[in-house]
Chain length 396, copies 2
Amino acid sequence: MKQSQLFAKTLKNPPNDEFSQGARLLTQAGFIQKLSSGIYSFLPLGFLVLKKIENIIREEMNAVGGQELLMPALHPKEIWEESNRWSAADYLYKLKDRQKKEYVLGATHEEIIVDIARKRIFSYRDLPLALYQIQTKFRDELRAKSGLLRTKEFSMKDLYSFHADEKDFRKYYEKVKEAYFKIFTRCGFKDIIVAEAAGGIFTKEYTHEFQIPTEAGEDNIVFCPKGDYAKNREISDKTKGDKCPVCGARLEEKRAIEAGNIFPLGTRFSEPMRLNFIDKNGEKKLVIMGCYGIGLGRVLGAAAEIHHDEKGVIWPEEIAPFKFYQDLRGRGIEALYDEREGKTAGEKFADADLIGIPYRMVVSEKTLQRSSVEIKKRDKQNINLVKIKDIKNFKF
Amino acid sequence: MKQSQLFAKTLKNPPNDEFSQGARLLTQAGFIQKLSSGIYSFLPLGFLVLKKIENIIREEMNAVGGQELLMPALHPKEIWEESNRWSAADYLYKLKDRQKKEYVLGATHEEIIVDIARKRIFSYRDLPLALYQIQTKFRDELRAKSGLLRTKEFSMKDLYSFHADEKDFRKYYEKVKEAYFKIFTRCGFKDIIVAEAAGGIFTKEYTHEFQIPTEAGEDNIVFCPKGDYAKNREISDKTKGDKCPVCGARLEEKRAIEAGNIFPLGTRFSEPMRLNFIDKNGEKKLVIMGCYGIGLGRVLGAAAEIHHDEKGVIWPEEIAPFKFYQDLRGRGIEALYDEREGKTAGEKFADADLIGIPYRMVVSEKTLQRSSVEIKKRDKQNINLVKIKDIKNFKF
């Protein structure tokens, strides 16, 4: 195939049907394309970023002993009836097949993982266990208007843990909390608030949300600047200016994006679905569970909301589709990324020369096959083929 | 987490609701678990195999210039009406959201990729282009009874190519055909028949199916043993014993599994959806398209159907979840893989010694962290820590 360039075709104008600045930039630059309200494709550039986020999450999940599997999206009605959730949420997509059998499209997978566990966990020797997947979820959202921040279909990492007792669960819960900090830090978020929140259709207990402060967020977080208190405003009996119940400092309030959440499930699912095990004393007990989610597209969307200027998104290094641009900027070198469509390399070189750009860096399929880029000085004829790993040390 | 073993818990008995031998073995050995008819989870062991198949496919798709992206599963009715396919197939899952908007769950993605292409392809300079995804498809199957061979939800690689003319398309079609041979060969299939077939709801032209011969297959292929003729019996006017129209040899007939298919789409989608480009002479023309599918679960299922003995699946080397066992067997060394549940390592060692197994190989989280296994001779005390890459050369 002659196609020597990445399919990263920019649009001349930003889309007129996106309200969030991040989604406008991501669409115009060729990272994503909206199919319908709350439903997006990740184009090759966006897919590269999504894969980087996925790999960061996978590494950190494996590091806390998570084992990856893959569960289906089509769930038969009967299994959601077992946990009494079939009618518990109005955001579930339901459908019938041509034999009139009813299904729900998985918005979450507690029922499915418990069904797997109850067929293969029998003894305390089988515990603890942590299983996760990176898989597509569906939610019938009414307010799908913030680009990737609230979508009807989204790729999610969902981890489920199984424990013999509450103490073991709590220890693991804290471990995952640390792993989440690592994930969000690696994805380039410096400011992360862990806020208490309601459990929704999952549990009556409080849960924890990982909130990234930004005006583009849809949640409001009441928090202590010293880190002693943080709650989603939905469940907080305090507000901005009130005293922190722990340290007395004045509470603040910020809009934020919920990028992840962790839930103590207790026996919410193991009881109705009969997930038991035989403990060391030969007694039958209910398995204690936790679940832990991260929306991949939401992380990508949050990164775009938080890290951009008027020219476009400024990707945090570890999730950038290409790093040259970041490397250069990090070294204080002002770089112009010529990504115009309908221009030949020759036309671009001519323009670069006309404007007087002092250095020209060329990346092509040919140079990438040699893991290299071409660098040429404006006023010299010779072209340097420089290995990508050596760009950082190249003497401009 | 103390969980030092892979969640590969075998069942005592094979499931009584699977008709295919492959699905029975895969379930009993902990590779897959059925949730409902035609709907499966891939457990950690099965997920490892699925990922290996995925990576083989990805490598070969990238090698023919394919660029990976990710499209959604929820498709609004309107876009399937544009191509006149909304009512074209009774195996489509359809649903309504709470605002009564109608969707189809993608059984294929021609409409979505054409929508992406028509927003970003304008000129002959944008062609050719090849985009693919590895994503979940849905089909309301009535005959979901052959384990992974025919499922209602399945992971599929679908590649779409875009060309300025028929000649360029044909060249690329042959290139993908070769890539498919590479993929199926790497996945361990030695016998592959490329058969002509009907185009279904995709095209009126003939298409090509990659058929893997096995009694467990659901298709019947009439073919020339010299390779001069091969058609799905559904469209063949010849039968077993007839003469090959090319070389005169007696035709044969075999049952087979369709593991992949390639379709010349022509302007079937670009015409109704107005995917045009401006050619070198400034004329507006329709883009010529092809599409190319491979079902990942079906490849896994086919491998299990074809490669097993009474003890279990014998994975082809490149898609095996772990290779030690295969390595040993390949060297003619009879190996016993002690995968019994509810037994401690000590109990297993004792049994191995009791039976008199001459060598013991131990793989644990600890040894894997050092990319190694422990090997101990029955009658010696010392334990050798051997790098996995060196097992092949270890002197037993």
